[in-house]
Symmetry: C2
Subunit: 366 residues, 2 copies
């Protein structure tokens, strides 16, 4: 039974003055005599008084702090889940006067991203959350913002050499290692495999490949990595072109490798790779390990075409990134981690059913 929390009224009563003056003292607004100030401070301390955050929030929901989110108009099922997370955050924090400014760029267009960051410099935006389209090219733009006092955080992929505060997302090198070990298990340590994926300009993709290769080489001598296949860098590709590239690439992989036992797909395009494998190699058993979930990926996992997917709940990732950003801006964090790694979920045939509609899978967000 904890005693009820003291309110501003309690303090005022005990000090025998009005709540207005208490408020002035609590927020150092001045215009209070030295004597009463000390008295109030003493009594407030005695009563263990701290202003109610919810009441404060209720009053001050008009002053708004703006946070920008920048992400590409690319892999639709992936980014639509991010959108959900943005909505979640907006819903939870709109009462605290947070306003989000969302920028969607054409695919991974670096120039656009840099331009937006520069625009933000001349605005009243207090924080930025983004996925760097390139791990170093946007560093200067980030650093300038940071110098100006804007909190910049990365999510999904990082720009580790910039002066950003915090990265939220997978530890992609480890995710690659995990993928390799899954592949090793599925293949019982024997076979020929390929890596198929998008361009490696975004750091997370590069890191997954690094992790995967190193683990395969180190622990699976019986597995031969045939080649790494990447699509071209498509700065202003629209969705369809992007998918077409992937389809073409997969066909090429199958054409040129009659014997192939496993494919590691480095991002959410897994579904397009898997669909083609399913069609063209009906009878053979090519193990597929990929990333992320979507309604199609889930179905393919359930069917057994995709053997495992490493899933990071994007909804949670943005939400956490935004939350961290907000807290940094409002200085609610005394110290914060540079890396906020999210747990890499392994989703298999057995567990996929617990994520029925990926687009409405709120998971653990409150």
């Amino acid at each position: 039974m904890q005693k009820k929390k003291a309110t501003i009224k309690d303090v005022a009563q005990a000090a025998n003055i009005s709540i207005g003056t208490v408020d002035r003292v609590m927020h150092n607004r001045g215009g209070v005599s030295k004597k009463t100030e000390e008295k109030i401070k003493r009594i407030a301390a005695e009563l263990n008084y701290t202003p109610s955050t919810i009441a404060q929030a209720l009053v001050s929901q008009k002053n708004n702090i703006k946070i920008a989110v920048i992400y590409p108009d690319a892999e639709p099922h992936f980014w639509s889940q991010v959108e959900k997370g943005i909505k979640d955050f907006e819903k939870a924090y709109c009462f605290f006067g947070v306003e989000l400014v969302v920028y969607k760029t054409s695919c991974y267009a670096i120039d656009e991203q840099i331009k937006i960051l520069e625009e933000i410099k001349n605005s009243d935006i207090k924080g930025v959350v983004t996925i760097p389209y390139n791990s170093y090219k946007i560093d200067p733009a980030i650093n300038e913002l940071v110098k100006k006092g804007v909190v910049v955080n990365t999510f999904v992929s990082d720009a580790p050499n910039s002066r950003r505060s915090c990265y939220t997302g997978l530890d992609d090198i480890s995710a690659g290692v995990l993928a390799a070990n899954l592949m090793g298990l599925f293949l019982k340590g024997q076979g020929k495999i390929a890596i198929v994926g998008v361009h490696r300009d975004v750091l997370c993709i590069e890191n997954r490949i690094l992790g995967f290769i190193s683990a395969i080489h180190k622990d699976y001598p019986g597995i031969e990595l045939l080649r790494i296949f990447n699509t071209r860098m498509l700065s202003d590709a629209h969705e369809n072109l992007y998918i077409e590239e992937m389809v073409e690439l997969t066909n090429h992989v199958l054409d040129t490798n009659p014997i192939l036992n496993g494919i590691y797909v480095t991002n959410s395009m897994t579904e397009h790779v898997a669909k083609i494998v399913k069609e063209r190699r009906k009878d053979s058993d090519i193990k597929i390990v990929g990333h992320e979930l979507s309604n199609d990926i889930n179905a393919l996992i359930a069917e057994g075409v995709i053997d495992a997917s490493i899933y990071q709940n994007q909804r949670k990732v943005v939400y956490n990134a935004l939350k961290t950003t907000y807290k940094q801006i409002t200085r609610q964090l005394e110290e914060f981690e540079q890396y906020n790694y999210i747990f890499p979920n392994i989703v298999t045939k057995d567990s996929v059913k617990f994520i029925k509609d990926i687009y409405n899978h709120k998971d653990e967000i409150d």
Copy 2:
């Protein structure tokens, strides 16, 4: 750039009725004509109205609703994480006037549990969250409470034939299947295995065994299940006795089965089984699949002694169970799921490092 959030007043104005009625509709309090109800719901949806949580919190500080949590003083690392979740919930919902009444019983003492449920009948407690120590013996006590208007929910294990509202936790049959498939992978489909675990009085254990056996029999003809070893039912065992039983049992298993390739441990006692295997069978490679995490389990996974653990974030489980209960009591839910299954995380050597200190692993709770 979203326009300012709609308030209850906006909705009332647009619908041309009073805010009182809007409130009634929003919370399904009844006493509103079908026609106006529909109208208000439509307009609320149009305006994208959701009640301000902070305003709600501000109001409901005075009336406190009591929710009881009942759980056993058993597996300490498991239940201490549950405690964290209880604390989380208390912290998040104390502004809403929620008060938790925590009952800890000696181990899985059914009589005690029933007595507590009966006590609650004569109190002002509005909701109960508990793990049924037996899947049917406490049904009458639950049903009586429900009849009296108390919301009763289960977590971690269920009492499916009672009139409880909602179960939050793993789908344990599926978790058993998942464990079987992991075991199958690790053993490459070949070998002799045993199931080792606590008594099967709590339904979740029984279900895991069911799922495991059925999957092994169905999909792994090369794997032979030697036997299922269970500890005795220890109603009022204190921790040490409980562990001793498990240690003894594991030694017995190893003594009587010189050839053994895998062990499935049905609950969080995995660490005690694994420690003995590590000592006694230094050189042999017995694959171990278990449940839950703890600092010791994590270390054993990292070492490679335990190959995989199926983890349900207990902190999240209680939190969600309590949240559901609260919402039901306050009628914030029009309809709710009977089963609130949590995602079964597969934790392996590769991913265990992302849960550094299990006792402080808040994961995604806000």
